[in-house]
Amino acid sequence: MNAPQIADPIFQIEGLSLFYGEAAALKEIGLHIPRRQVTAFIGPSGCGKSTLLRTLNRMNDLIDTVRIEGSIRMDGEEIYSPEVDAIELRRRVGMVFQAYNPFPKSIYENVVFGLRIAGVRNKSALDEAAERALTAAALWEEVKDRLRESALGLSGGQMQRLCIARAIAVNPEVILMDEPCSALDPTATARIEDLIFELKKDFTVIIVTHNLQQAARVADYTAFLYLGSLIEYDVTSIIFSRPREKRTEDYITGRFG
């Protein structure tokens, strides 16, 4: 496989395999993820793209039967070494989920949740962070007058942007997005895509998507996974215009998947 040259990768994944019990979900994955760029993982259902995403903030730790081999380094530091605190790692690597999942609390409490559990008590610091995160998530104008109302009263697209605001409020370095638009209508999807474009100025964004056009629109780099293996990884324009691999071409032209 011909990997792209990435000067300053934030993640260096080498020989990563992941097993659910005996079954291998990821096989010998190796790729470097660029800093402050958008990287998309694409592939058919069950190819392991979400599993790969979740290894990056150790969300797979919560499943008892998971076993991991190989190495993932973030800024050169092995994230699966025993000295690394998964809780601390997750503060640096935020996540936005497929199904928007705001807490049944007020909009404000949702945004500052991560800061509160990190021990921030200062009211003005919380207010400031909430405004910053909501602004960055392009939601501030819509909700600034009803911060104390329940988050469950928002529309689907607003809820997903709230979840993004919640993730960026703790000021992570990386934001993982697991099919963030799959439950949203085209208008809401377009807003999230615009938002992703803005976010990469400050954050590294890694997005799993089913929607190839979306990957083509938002991602700088794209990785194609198939049956747990990384088939091809390159600059997005290359993947979508002249992929080296036959299977990549078949997938992006809709011959399977």
Partner: protein
């Protein structure tokens, strides 16, 4: 159109509607019967005097009328009272045997400290030690005399308070002597002798004050009122023994209403009299509420923590499934079984051990090794904890997994997720479970009977005396009160209204507790629920 009714499925609608109607009807009837029988009791009923064909008389409240199949009046039940004169409180008289029935204005009803009510006419007053204005009419003189006697009685009561202070001091010294004697060793004899020396003056003071109180009480009791029944038989009674005197036939409706409220207040605030068939229910109300509160104090944390472990931490497997089934089944174990377990484990096991370790000098008299409110509430907590576990587990399981993932992805620990998100979200469900278990626990009687409930408790489990909470004390309970008054009292017929009233109060407490919990739950739900999802 065209379809047969059976295909339209309307029968099911009717069936479900009918089932609901039957349930509601049964509930409403139950509450209605209890209310009708209980609420009327305190209203002062008119006193009837019957002259009989054979020359006899009967006087009292008319409690029941029986009719023949043709609808004619067949017989009347009088509550004739005057148990000390007649031996029985109630009397059936055939309608045919009654010559005249009238309602004299000066017919008096007396509530007494013993022998139940007296119905009759005031004959004379013999006032030995209190003075009242002789110019007053007889009935008003009686009222004035009662006030005067009451005033003196309060003075004797305050004397009794110092008597009881003495008695506490004596008990303290007695226990200290017991402890020294048990420990033995050098100096113990000296210590005992010193304590005995301390004891002597206290005992002398106690005896003197006690004797004085008794003498003054005897003196007060020599002020008497004499009443005659309808047949002219007289009875002389100490004015002190009259709890209430009233002439219902002469009372206006507002006066009766005031009387009614007075009785209700007595019910809620006073101690019972006459082996619980008269007077108030305060100790039983207090005992019931305190029992339920103590029980919740034990069962909610225990149940919630157990449910959290099962739902959030335990690895799903055969063992967890079996534990869950066992918990479900525990909810169905008969309460008497819990009672017996409580007696064996808490009272004899834990209580007995506490006595051996901390109060060995008092043995064989038990301190904690006998029934008490602590053991009863722990037994009830055990009985209700399965419900709390099941409901809490369900409430936690209903929280979408995405909430947990989102929280963890923000760097929260599992405990932070639980404490800040899961438990608050599950709280309304947990409270619902608590309502269910409270309603069940408040009405339980069987397990209490062997773990500490008594017919008449000498002291409340909470009072002004250090250490304020006396968890080793026995207590009274409304549920047990119903059983005791309704089925164990010497005068069941006279006690019947009290049973209904006690039932009504127990229902009110259960419903009251439920309403508090429901309001709490709704306010929580409002805090979390959104407009739409």
């Amino acid at each position: 159109m065209g379809r047969k009714p059976i295909q339209r499925g309307e029968q099911l609608v009717w069936l479900t509607g009918a089932a609901l109607t039957v349930t509601l009807l049964a509930t409403v009837t139950l509450i209605g019967v209890v209310m009708v029988n209980g609420l009327g009791y305190f209203w002062p009923s008119t006193l009837a005097v019957a002259r009989l064909v054979d020359g006899g008389t009967a006087m009292g409240e008319i409690t029941q009328r029986d009719y023949t199949d043709e609808g004619d009046l067949w017989r009347i039940q009088f509550k004739v009272g005057n148990r000390d004169l007649y031996g029985a409180d109630f009397r059936w008289i055939d309608a045919a045997a009654i010559e005249t029935l009238n309602y004299p204005e000066d017919a008096a009803a007396l509530e007494r400290e013993e022998y139940g009510n007296f119905y009759g006419f005031l004959e004379r007053l013999d006032l030995a030690t209190v003075q009242v204005d002789a110019g007053l009419p007889p009935w008003e003189r009686l009222q004035a005399a009662r006030d005067a006697v009451e005033e003196r009685f309060e003075a004797i009561e305050s004397l009794n308070e110092s008597v009881s202070a003495d008695s506490h001091e004596m008990e303290r010294i007695r226990l200290a002597i017991l402890e020294l004697r048990y420990e033995g060793g050098a100096g113990a004899e000296d210590g005992i002798a010193r304590l005995e020396e301390q004891l002597a003056p206290v005992r002398a003071d106690f005896d003197a004050r006690n004797a004085e109180a008794a003498a003054r009480l005897a003196e007060l009791r020599s002020n008497t009122a004499t009443f005659a029944d309808a047949a002219g038989r007289t009875k002389e009674m100490p004015i002190l023994s009259l709890v209430r005197t009233y002439r219902p036939n002469a009372m206006s409706v507002p006066a009766k209403a005031l009387f009614y409220l007075g009785k209700v207040w007595e019910l809620l605030s006073a101690n019972p009299r006459e082996s619980n068939t008269e007077g108030g229910l305060f100790p039983a109300i207090f005992g019931t509420v305190m029992l339920v509160m103590l029980m919740s104090l034990f069962c909610i944390p225990l149940g919630v923590v157990a449910a959290v472990y099962l739902q959030e931490y335990a690895r799903e497997g055969l063992l967890v499934r079996m534990v869950r089934i066992a918990v479900f089944n525990l909810a169905g174990v008969p309460s008497i079984v819990y009672g017996i377990f409580g007696l064996g484990f808490f009272v004899y096991g834990v209580g007995g051990t506490i006595d051996e370790l901390f109060f060995p000098e008092r043995l064989p008299n038990p301190t904690f090794g006998t029934g008490g409110i602590l053991w009863a509430s722990l037994t009830l907590a055990l009985l209700t904890v399965p419900v709390v576990i099941v409901v809490t587990e369900e409430a936690l399981a209903a929280i979408p997994g995405g909430i947990r993932e989102a929280s963890l992805s923000l760097g929260a620990t599992r405990f932070q997720t639980l404490w800040r998100l899961l438990l608050p979200i599950a709280a309304p469900g947990i409270i619902t479970g608590f309502v269910l278990s409270t309603a069940r626990a408040a009405g339980e009687v069987a397990p209490l009977m062997i773990t500490g409930v008594v017919k008449l408790a000498p002291a409340l489990p909470l009072d002004g005396e250090f250490p304020f909470f006396h968890l080793d004390r026995k207590f009274m309970h409304l549920g047990f009160h119903i059983y005791d008054v309704g089925f164990q009292s010497p005068n069941v017929e006279a006690a019947k209204p009290m049973v209904f009233i006690t039932t009504l109060l127990l229902l009110a407490i259960v419903i009251g507790l439920s309403i508090v919990a429901i309001v709490l739950r709704n306010s929580m739900q409002k805090r979390y629920a959104g407009k739409a999802f």
